[in-house]
Structure formats: structure tokens, C-alpha cells
């Protein structure tokens, strides 16, 4: 195939695929789209002005959301780190690495919301199933990030420390983890940020946190109260993003 014809065919195929996908999901149903746009205008109009009369009770729910995220992230972390070690090809052989990676992939496939639903079914309503749901998702996600980070450690460092006659456990504790500590911390903070955002909707399935109020205000058409919750949640998420980016840059390699 000539380069010129390839330059035309590739974008053409991609464009057709995009248009076909949009057609199938209903983007070209103009009647529906027009009605939807009009409804959206009514909905957005109903959000303003936000009603901050709900500030006190929503603040407690946001605090609960942060606590769920923090506990879920830390619980997930203490399980993910050893699994990350067991899943790293530069530390263990395929007999250990294979099953661990498969387990992490299975855990990661189920989204946090579904994990929360599973724990709501088994443990009942409240923040506990939400926290466990976040922990489970954290295990799957952080475990993968950690084995990748551990595998990125300079092989010569591993060789040099291993050559001293250290055991595998000593090698992991004193060489591999310290060398990837910045990434471990950075990914932990990223996961915490992600979990704060994810936990905002766990209340939709009865797993505690601010999502419970969001769903309630949507179902009872209290859009001004909903807007207040969204603004308060946004403020908390942005604050946590800012603080964690400061912590990350403090610990990143070469910075002090």
C-alpha cells in the first residue's frame, strides 16, 4: 500500500467507527436530543441558587466520606503492597507472580461501586461496606501499580545488594522498597484522591457518605440542596488534590 493511500484510509476508518458508534448509542436521534437539551436547561435552572441550609448535616456526611476514603485506602494499601511484592517479576518467579497478577486483575475488574454493593448485601447498609468496597478496589489497583513500580528498580541495585548475601526479604525491605518509595507514596496519594471522588457516589447503593444525600435530593427533586452538596464536595476534593500534590512534590525525587 502506498503511504499516501494509507494516510487517507486510516483517518477515514477511524471517522466511520466514531460516527457508527455515535449512531448506535442514539446521538442522531434529534427529537430526543432536543427534548433532552430543553430538560437539561430546566434542571440546571433548578440548581440555582444553591441552598446551604443543609451545610451542617452534609458536612458530617462529607466527613464520613473522607473517613471512609482514608480507612479504605490504608486498608487496601497494607494488602496491596505485599501483593505488589509477590507480583513483581524481578523478585519472584512465574509460579508466584502468575496467580497474584490474576487475582489482582480479577479484583480490579469489579468497580468500587459494585464492591460496595456486594458488601452492602453481605454486611448491611452504612459506611462499613463502603469502606470495604474502596479497600477492595484499592487492592486491585494499587497492587498493579506497585508491582510495576517495584519492577522498575534498577537491576544493578538489586544485584549489588543481593551480592552481599542478603535474604529475599532483606532485599525487598532495604533495597527495592526504599528505591521505589517515592512512587509508592505518590500512587498512594493518587489512590486516596481517587477514593474521595469515588466514595461520593457510594451512598447511591446505601454504602454511607455524602452520596446518600445526593441521591435523596435527586429523588425528591431538591436540586438547590443538591447543588450545595456538589459545591461542598467539589471544595473538599480540590482541597485534598492540592494538599496531596504538595505532599507528593515534597517527597518526589530530588526535591526537598
Amino acid at each position: 500500500m502506498k503511504p499516501n493511500s494509507q494516510a487517507i484510509i486510516t483517518p477515514l476508518v477511524i471517522s466511520i467507527a466514531i460516527i457508527a458508534s455515535m449512531w448506535n448509542v442514539g446521538f442522531f436521534d434529534f427529537t430526543r436530543m432536543t427534548r433532552g437539551t430543553s430538560n437539561l436547561g430546566v434542571f440546571v435552572g433548578g440548581l440555582f441558587p444553591p441552598n446551604f441550609g443543609v451545610f451542617d448535616k452534609v458536612s458530617w456526611a462529607i466527613l464520613e466520606t473522607i473517613q471512609m476514603s482514608f480507612a479504605g485506602t490504608m486498608l487496601g494499601f497494607v494488602i496491596a503492597l505485599p501483593l505488589g511484592v509477590l507480583g513483581a517479576k524481578n523478585i519472584f518467579g512465574p509460579i508466584t507472580v502468575g496467580p497474584v497478577r490474576l487475582l489482582l486483575a480479577v479484583v480490579r475488574t469489579i468497580p468500587a461501586l459494585l464492591w460496595a454493593l456486594i458488601f452492602v448485601v453481605t454486611l448491611g447498609l452504612g459506611p462499613l461496606p463502603g469502606t470495604l468496597g474502596l479497600a477492595a478496589y484499592t487492592v486491585g489497583y494499587l497492587g498493579k501499580l506497585y508491582y510495576e513500580a517495584l519492577e522498575a528498580v534498577d537491576p544493578e541495585v538489586i544485584e549489588a545488594v543481593g551480592a552481599i548475601g542478603t535474604s529475599k526479604l532483606q532485599l525487598v525491605r532495604h533495597a527495592i522498597i526504599p528505591e521505589s518509595a517515592n512512587q509508592i507514596l505518590s500512587q498512594l496519594l493518587f489512590m486516596f484522591e481517587y477514593n474521595v471522588r469515588a466514595s461520593s457516589i457510594l451512598g447511591f447503593v446505601g454504602a454511607g457518605g455524602v452520596g446518600f444525600y445526593m441521591l435523596g435530593y435527586i429523588q425528591t427533586l431538591q436540586y438547590r440542596e443538591l447543588m450545595a452538596v456538589i459545591i461542598m464536595t467539589l471544595f473538599v476534593v480540590l482541597t485534598i488534590d492540592y494538599v496531596s500534590s504538595k505532599v507528593r512534590s515534597r517527597f518526589l525525587f530530588g526535591q526537598k
Binding site: V157, E159, V161, A163, I164, G165, T166, H174, A175, P178
Partner: protein, 246 residues
């Protein structure tokens, strides 16, 4: 010396080694290195120098032949005991860049610590004192708590030497460890290694720098294409001869 007082620190007999799917990296190497001596292994890239060092400290296992360190065959059972007494300085040094000088040097003593304290990172006071002495010995006492990534090339070299000393080694193996240094610093490092040798440590250095080999090795071993092509006392060979051999 924890490995006994055999005359030969290292004995290799008819050692063959090849990496998977490749030609022989080492072919029929036999070598005796006297205890307390300084030996320089020279050869061009791909001549098998690094492979030879890795065979000596048990990082690689020869497919044929035997390796004895102070008379002990480095079989799997003995490997850890032998390794404890061999300080190994790889070409890129293998330092923990995010850790301090002291933390890097303490790693050298891990193999003789109890497993619980080693895992928790609680070092006995005598180990910390020994690490401080090693750091002082290599002349970077003022950098003890500095992180390694902030040090100059020469200072990092000193940290690697201090880590090897922390092992209380009988042998130090150093792989091209002056290759990234300027002329003056390279000679400083080799002088420092000479001092260590005078304390009874056997030195085995690998280099492609013929001048350094002539000045700092008592014995020079020439490798080419995985084979030992010559072995001589440094005073018996001229630089011209070396150039012909390498």
C-alpha cells in the same frame, strides 16, 4: 578473615559459561589469585570481564568447571556464606539513590544481622559505629546523612567502597568502577583501594584502562573473546605489549 587463610583467595578451574542462546562468554578459564594480592582483569568490551567477576561472587553459576573462594566451593549451600565476605562494586555502583550515605553503608552489614532486626531496620549500635568508621575511612564523614543522589561521582564511588568495607570483606571485586571518573579522581579511588589491600583484603579489579591496570595491579589477566590469553606481573609487561594483547 572469616573464610579461612588459604593461600589462594580465588581458584577457577576450567570454567565455562554462556548466557542463554548466546556464544560462550567464558571459555575454559583457569585462574589462581593469591590471598592479599591485587589483580586487574583487562579486556575490551564483551571479553568476559564482568561475567568473570559475577562467577567469582556466585551471581552466575558456571556450566562447567569449579570456583573456589578461600578453598570453599561456591555451591548453592555455601553461596551466602561466601558472598558475605566478598565486597562487590558493580560498574554503576548499585547504590540506593534515595537513601542516605549511612543507610547505604549499613546495607553492607545486613547479611550478618538477625532476621527480625534486619527486617525492622533496627541496626545494633556496634554496626552503626562500624558503618561510621567505614564512611570516615573513605573520607566522606561529613556527608554521612546526605542522600546519595546529591553526591558527586567520586563521592558515590566512595560510598560504594564503604558499603563493601562494611561487609568486613576478605575480597573486593570492582567492575570498571573508575570508568565514569576524571583522571585525578580515578587515581584517588585506586589509591584508596591500595590502602584497603594493605590491610589484607584481596582486590580484583576489572578495567579496560591499560594505564590504570599497569599502575595499580600486581598481576594482570588479559581476556579476549571469553578466553584468558595471558597472565603476567604488571612489572613484566609494557604498555605496548598490553595494547597488542587487548
Amino acid at each position: 578473615m572469616s573464610l579461612g587463610n588459604a593461600d589462594n583467595a580465588v581458584q577457577l578451574q576450567n570454567v565455562w559459561f554462556s548466557y542463554e542462546g548466546r556464544n560462550h562468554a567464558l571459555q575454559d578459564i583457569s585462574l589462581n589469585i593469591k590471598s592479599g594480592s591485587s589483580t586487574v582483569i583487562v579486556g575490551s568490551s564483551g571479553s568476559g570481564k564482568t561475567t568473570l567477576l559475577k562467577i567469582i561472587n556466585g551471581l552466575l553459576k558456571p556450566q562447567q568447571g569449579s570456583v573456589r573462594v578461600f578453598g570453599i566451593d561456591i555451591s548453592d549451600e555455601q553461596k551466602r556464606i561466601v558472598r558475605r565476605s566478598i565486597g562487590y562494586i558493580p560498574q554503576q555502583l548499585g547504590l540506593l539513590r534515595n537513601s542516605t550515605v549511612l543507610q547505604n553503608v549499613l546495607v553492607g552489614g545486613l547479611a550478618r544481622m538477625g532476621s527480625a532486626s534486619a527486617i525492622l531496620g533496627i541496626y545494633p549500635e556496634h554496626e552503626i559505629k562500624h558503618a561510621m568508621r567505614c564512611i570516615e575511612q573513605v573520607g566522606i564523614g561529613h556527608k554521612t546523612h546526605e542522600r546519595v543522589h546529591r553526591l558527586s561521582g567520586g563521592e558515590r564511588q566512595r560510598v560504594a567502597i564503604a558499603r563493601a568495607l562494611m561487609q568486613k570483606p576478605s575480597i573486593i571485586l570492582a567492575d570498571e568502577f573508575t570508568s565514569d571518573l576524571d583522571y585525578v579522581t580515578a587515581h584517588e579511588m585506586l589509591d584508596l583501594m591500595g590502602e584497603i589491600r594493605r590491610n589484607g583484603v584481596t582486590l580484583i579489579l576489572v578495567t579496560h584502562n591499560l594505564e590504570l591496570a599497569a599502575q595499580h595491579g600486581e598481576k594482570i589477566v588479559f581476556l579476549k573473546g571469553g578466553m584468558k590469553i595471558a597472565e603476567s606481573h604488571s612489572k613484566d609487561v609494557t604498555e605496548e605489549t598490553m595494547k597488542t594483547l587487548v
